[in-house]
């Protein structure tokens, strides 16, 4: 395996944005998550909780509500007053319709899925009809005094409950008039000067309205008479979100202290018919406000300001009690935000609105295994490139020679040429980039930096030839069938002959770059691809999927390699399959064709194809074998998967040259240190 010098990089100041809304779709088992910077991500919960699609954010878009409507349509509404529909096939925004009510605070789709209700800043509740290609304004309900912060439909679609500041109104949908107005106490058993903000309401089918407010109370109201039935004080701070299960026998609330409470409908005594709502389980998985919760049939989903997405399967609802029923916490991105230029030892970091270019430090010292070597030259922050406009950067890349940087936003594509003189660096933008390159999902440079491959969200794959300071569009591979399918991942072979592109549902397409035609297609697999790479001399395509399967496909032979077939027959080790985080990057050793280097957020692994595969009984995570053990023992315990957990959490790991690795880590504490202030907790003795 050899010895490596590892550059441990911790100066990537990556801070994800907080989660604002979560919406669960039962039919497709998908979760839509919207963040405070306007990004909307779609997680496929059945594909090992992998983030398969995302819509880049925008500065002026402050999403406050997200909901699924009939037919897998996703709508969001925000403080800019617009209702937006997302196109899940083409990965762009279909349209944005202004609701003319000021900032929109809440949105709810009717149980039938054909109507949409929005609550606005000026106190009006507006009803929209969902037509096959657009939404259409139908009418306004009675205007209320203050802003409508939460909405909920009754399951029959005849009444709605709207939570506002200090009161809750129940509307009759047909007439549009307010039937009841229920005044909420400002404080549990007391009075207070601070207004009580009703952050969430839920309307059950038996006519009970559940409200959660900023005084820390969960209250049950009877909508027929408009009176308070029961009141629970569960927190000292705001209770900010509520979600009810489909069967209406349990609901979950999230508080500003980071606690998530589970309420269940439990019979009063063991054999009585009368039931009551009881607070059963508290979960403390967050440190900051839990601003949104969702209830799927088997799990509780919560997300908040501390940027984690926590999915907690409920043990009583899960059928098979295996590793699938464990807690899932999604913190780190499922895509690679870092690209590396190996020749010049440069790293390009992608942030939401700017790019940073760093040169790695160097050292002249040597040492033995496990030593930390002192730096003779510090890492250098070479470039801070801000993007023009309010849109977020979708993807970026630096060429292997380090002289080209390309990045793309929704509306434009930027290409820059870098010149290095001694220690200085100068930047020149290549102007008049064609419009079809915009909204690219993945950008990749060829190994010799003469070609640029761009995968656009329309499904087309563009090849651009770069020379000197200019470019020329060579070819565009159009999508196969009539459907528009966004190409998510690209891989190019080091000799520049083959290009592999993976879509969201079809198999991986391999194109011949020299002859500009489709060469073959790897058979489709039902889990999405998380990382791809093509090996240097053998031209084997290595694909990693979200269920932790790794395939190796030989491009010249157009079939899976023998090693891959052996692995599939034997199966992976059970601990390998139980890893939480997807593999985000695969690379190869230039001199050792039998080695594959891959990593996920908590480990990096070198697969040695020449060694035997581990079966379920062997130890997967080998500790470093002590040298005084006999050779026989070492040979018996050695297997193909050499895993190291020294560097974690890993955002990126790559082989710079034969003896150097670079590992970009992002400790969780550094992320938490930059989050907004949490609620104060008083502990005895402090």
């Amino acid at each position: 395996m050899g010895e490596f010098k590892v550059h441990r990089v911790r100066f990537f100041n990556y801070v994800p944005s907080g989660i604002r809304c979560v919406a669960y779709n039962n039919q497709s088992n998908r979760l839509a998550v919207s963040r405070t910077d306007g990004t909307v991500e779609i997680y496929n919960l059945s594909a090992n909780y992998f983030q398969e699609k995302f819509f880049p954010g925008h500065e002026s878009r402050a999403t406050e509500a997200l909901c699924w409507a009939e037919g897998q349509r996703l709508f969001s509404a925000g403080l800019n007053g617009e209702i937006m529909e997302y196109d899940l096939q083409a990965l762009n925004i279909k349209y944005a319709m202004d609701a003319f009510g000021g900032p929109i605070w809440s949105m709810a789709a009717s149980p039938s899925g054909s109507q949409l209700l929005v609550g606005c800043e000026d106190g009006s509740v507006k009803l929209f009809q969902i037509t096959p290609d657009k939404i259409q304004f139908e009418r306004n309900f009675d205007r209320q005094k203050s802003r409508i912060l939460s909405l909920s439909w009754h399951s029959s679609g005849t009444h709605i409950a709207a939570g506002s500041i200090d009161y809750i109104s129940v509307f009759d949908v047909k007439s549009g008039s307010a039937v009841h107005k229920m005044i909420v106490d400002r404080q549990y058993m007391g009075a207070s000067k601070r207004k009580c903000i009703v952050w969430g309401v839920a309307f059950l089918s038996d006519g009970t309205v559940i409200s959660v407010d900023s005084a820390g109370k969960v209250q049950f109201w009877d909508s027929a008479t408009g009176t308070l039935v029961k009141s629970h004080l569960i927190a000292n701070a705001d209770v900010q979100s509520i979600a009810v299960a489909d069967q209406e026998d349990s609901f979950v609330v999230g508080t500003a202290e980071g606690t998530v409470f589970h309420f269940q409908l439990v019979p009063v005594t063991s054999n009585s018919n009368e039931k009551q709502w009881v607070r059963t389980k508290p979960f403390q998985h967050h440190t900051h406000d839990v601003r949104t919760v969702a209830h799927s049939p088997t799990a509780l989903i919560s997300g908040g300001t501390d940027t984690h997405l926590v999915i907690r399967p409920l043990m009583e609802k899960v059928e098979v009690k295996n590793y699938d029923a464990a807690l899932r916490k999604i913190t780190f991105p499922h895509r690679c935000l870092i690209s590396c230029s190996k020749k010049r030892q440069l790293l390009l970091f992608q942030f939401a609105h700017h790019l940073e270019l760093w040169r790695l430090g160097s050292t002249v010292a040597t040492g033995k295994n496990g030593d930390t070597l002192p730096l003779s030259k510090n890492a250098d922050h070479l470039l801070h490139l801000k993007t023009k406009g309010p849109e977020n950067i979708i993807c970026s890349c630096i060429s292997p020679c380090g002289s080209w940087i390309a990045y793309s936003t929704v509306s434009r594509f930027f290409l820059y040429r870098l010149n290095y003189e001694h220690d200085n660096i100068s930047l020149k933008r290549v102007s008049k980039m064609p419009a079809f390159l915009r909204c690219a999902l993945q950008i990749l440079f060829s190994e010799d930096s003469t070609k640029l491959f761009v995968a656009s969200n329309q499904g087309a794959l563009h090849i651009v030839q770069l020379s000197g300071g200019s470019f020329k569009h060579l070819h565009a591979f159009q999508p196969q069938s009539g459907t528009v399918e966004a190409m998510c991942l690209l891989a190019v072979s080091p000799d520049g002959h083959w290009l592999a592109a993976s879509g969201t549902s079809a198999g991986v397409h391999v194109y011949d770059v020299k002859q500009l035609k489709l060469h073959c297609t790897v058979p489709a697999y039902n889990f999405p691809v998380t990382a791809m790479a093509i090996a240097p001399n053998t031209n084997n395509l290595v694909i990693a999927h979200s269920d932790q399967q790794v395939f190796e496909y030989s491009i010249p032979d157009k079939q899976y390699t023998d090693w891959s077939r052996t692995v599939q027959k034997q199966g992976f080790h059970h601990l390998w399959l139980q890893r939480d985080t997807p593999i985000t990057h695969i690379s190869f050793h230039p001199k050792r064709p039998m080695h594959i280097l891959l990593h996920d957020a908590y480990m990096f692994c070198i697969i040695d194809k020449s060694l035997p595969l581990p079966n379920d009984k062997t130890l997967l995570y080998n500790p470093f074998p002590p040298t005084n053990e006999s050779d026989v023992v070492r040979r018996r315990t050695a297997h193909a998967f050499k895993i190291s957990k020294i560097y974690k959490p890993l955002l990126f790991m790559d082989l710079l040259d034969e003896r150097t690795l670079v590992a970009v880590e992002r400790p969780l504490d550094d992320i938490i240190a930059q989050l907004p202030p949490p609620i104060k907790k008083k502990k005895f003795g402090t």
């Binding site: 800019n80 000021g102 701070a237 240190a673 202030p677 609620i679 502990k683």
Partner: protein
């Protein structure tokens, strides 16, 4: 000897006399008919009338003064002329003033407007656009009208009317500023509301450092806070010190040599 002036005809006097309102006309008539008692006293004829009135009081005591027609007439005519002159001068002055103000306004307006070239382009572009798709524009207008009617009067209408981008390079889009300001201010107000209700006064918030260090305080061996060092303190001072050190080293090397 009294020289009688030839009697003027009863026909309407010359245009000049008419223009100068009724005053001189009545005065002439008076001059014609001699001293007439009980006539409404007009400004020009005030003098002789006053004398008359005074004369009325003193009628019993003295005989009235003898005034020749000619002198009185001349005086009256002078008076009348002077009045006419002042009125005319006033009018011309006013006219001048008004003219100057108009010019000033036109100048200012011109300064505010866009240069002529762009205005030309705008008008031609809008005309061509209208010509190209009259049907579409009508449809859009109808839709807008319907929407407006439906949305009722209570909701504020924030319409953003976008003008077609005009110049060849299409690098800008004309938007009504009034609408944009309104929308931005409302969005800001909404964000301020959220910020105040979550992080404003009255909420029980603490810093992340204190939050994470709570555990350290309760350990059997107390540890320092999580963010014990404040790396952001004195950045400028540290940079200056580094630069000074570098320069000092260079100077030292030079003097050594």
């Amino acid at each position: 000897m009294v020289q009688l002036r030839p009697r003027a005809s009863r026909a309407p006097a010359s245009a000049e006399a008419m223009v100068d309102e009724g005053q001189p006309a009545s005065e002439e008539e008076e001059a014609e008919h001699g001293l007439l008692l009980g006539q409404p006293s007009s400004g020009a004829a005030a003098e002789p009338l006053e004398e008359d009135e005074e004369g009325d009081d003193e009628f019993d005591d003295e005989a009235p003064e003898e005034l020749t027609f000619a002198s009185a007439q001349a005086e009256a005519r002078e008076e009348e002329r002077r009045v006419r002159e002042t009125v005319r001068r006033d009018k011309t002055l006013l006219k001048e003033k008004r003219k100057r103000r108009e010019e000033l306004f036109i100048e200012q307006k011109k300064r505010k407007l866009l240069p002529d070239t762009i205005l030309e382009k705008l008008t031609t572009a809008s005309q061509t656009n209208i010509k190209k798709s009259p049907g579409k524009a009508k449809e859009v207008n109808l839709q807008k009208k319907n929407e407006d009617c439906e949305k009722g009067n209570d909701s504020k209408k924030v319409k953003v009317q976008k003008v077609q981008s005009v110049s060849q390079n299409k690098s800008y889009l004309a938007v009504r500023l009034k609408d944009q300001d309104l929308r931005d201010s409302r969005q800001q107000a909404a964000q301020a509301f959220i910020h105040n209700s979550l992080y404003g006064p009255g909420t029980n918030r603490t810093t992340v450092n204190k939050f994470l260090s709570l555990a350290n305080k309760r350990l059997p061996v107390k540890r320092a806070a999580v963010q014990f060092l404040n790396n952001a303190w004195g950045i400028q001072k540290k940079q200056n010190a580094k630069r000074f050190k570098r320069r000092w080293m260079v100077r030292k090397m030079k003097t050594k040599k």
